[in-house]
Symmetry: C2
Subunit: 207 residues, 2 copies
Amino acid sequence: MVGVSLRPEVTMAQRKRQLVSDELTEAALQLMAQEGFDAVTVDAIAAAAGVSKRTFFRYFASKEDVVVQFLADMGAGMHAELAARPAAEPPSTALRHAVWVAMAACADGAEHSGRALRVVQLILRTPALRARFLEHQAQWRDDLAVEAARRRGLDPEADLYPRLAAGAALVAFDTVLRRWSDSDGADDPADLTDRAFAALAPALDAD
Amino acid sequence: MVGVSLRPEVTMAQRKRQLVSDELTEAALQLMAQEGFDAVTVDAIAAAAGVSKRTFFRYFASKEDVVVQFLADMGAGMHAELAARPAAEPPSTALRHAVWVAMAACADGAEHSGRALRVVQLILRTPALRARFLEHQAQWRDDLAVEAARRRGLDPEADLYPRLAAGAALVAFDTVLRRWSDSDGADDPADLTDRAFAALAPALDAD
DNA sequence: AACTTCTTGACACCTGGTGACATCAACGAC
DNA sequence: GTCGTTGATGTCACCAGGTGTCAAGAAGTT
């Protein structure tokens, strides 16, 4: 346990928390891959991870969250990337890079293990999970819209453009993700993303 | 009851069914307007309509459905309108008319009574309802995409354009609906719709 | 009147989700 | 070393959404 004591900045309680969280996620994904989302009860997931049902809900707000939680980071990543793009860049380019942050997270995870792909397929096939996914996207859209408005010096409440542009970017993301999922990861995400934004660019970059 | 017997094509059982359904919807919307979606139980709705909880679930698949069910018709209306537009019409125009069918349903309902407006606001403010709304939209998107593909002689599975165009149209719908809702119905839906599609047209109509 | 069909209510049951409380391990202060 | 504190956990009770089942009743049929 030498390596442990060399990291005083991370308390043991925190590491244990992370461990339980991972265990829960792992158990959930494995069970759901076999039986499907609806057939797996929270009790079963908790039991498989060696904790109680009550503890599960101390880590995840809902049964859907254990599958979908990682999306929160992707949203933050997109937002941050858009904010970091040079102000002079055309909207279609900036948004393409922002969306690519999210898409790359899926594609990279898929490279080694195909785990991300299976999770995406599970989400897109399960109504309850798809609904949560769409809710996340709605949040992303709000965030991207305020950022897009800021870049152009517009009022996100008064002008239509920011929400339209953010929505269009997410439509591209959605379309690419679905194609990638339907092709079992065979199609190239980067190429798909470029083509989708090429089609949308005329509207994104119009004055 | 003379008027009744003059319509043999509509059985009494069917009319009664419609009546109970309306009563349930009415009770639900009224209660939710006062207390909010989450605070109203299915038992309370059923009791207010004079039926049992079990009967409620024979009419609606979920508590959300009693609020959101009318969306199903709007989706069918959009799809039908797109299919009915002349083939020579540019995509942006055809899609604008299709979306307007849905938007007009909201706006008309609001003209007299403001009921549609309140329902839309309830949906957009309540996460559970918004999620269901987004699921409906996802279905609309699939339907619009196959229709858009048919109009252009494309394969909806192979080409990106159909799903992109359908998605963009729904982003316009969404943006307009939200603006209309946020302005408490003050903004003109028709004008908003035109402006949104004007912004999107360059992408929709590109070759 | 007897029969059939459709609708309903009553009841039991499962599951997701939450509040309350007791317990136990880790940690710091004395 | 002991004591109090803090945080994570398990247990239990409970609520609400949702479903299966069955028996009773109204409507329409022969």
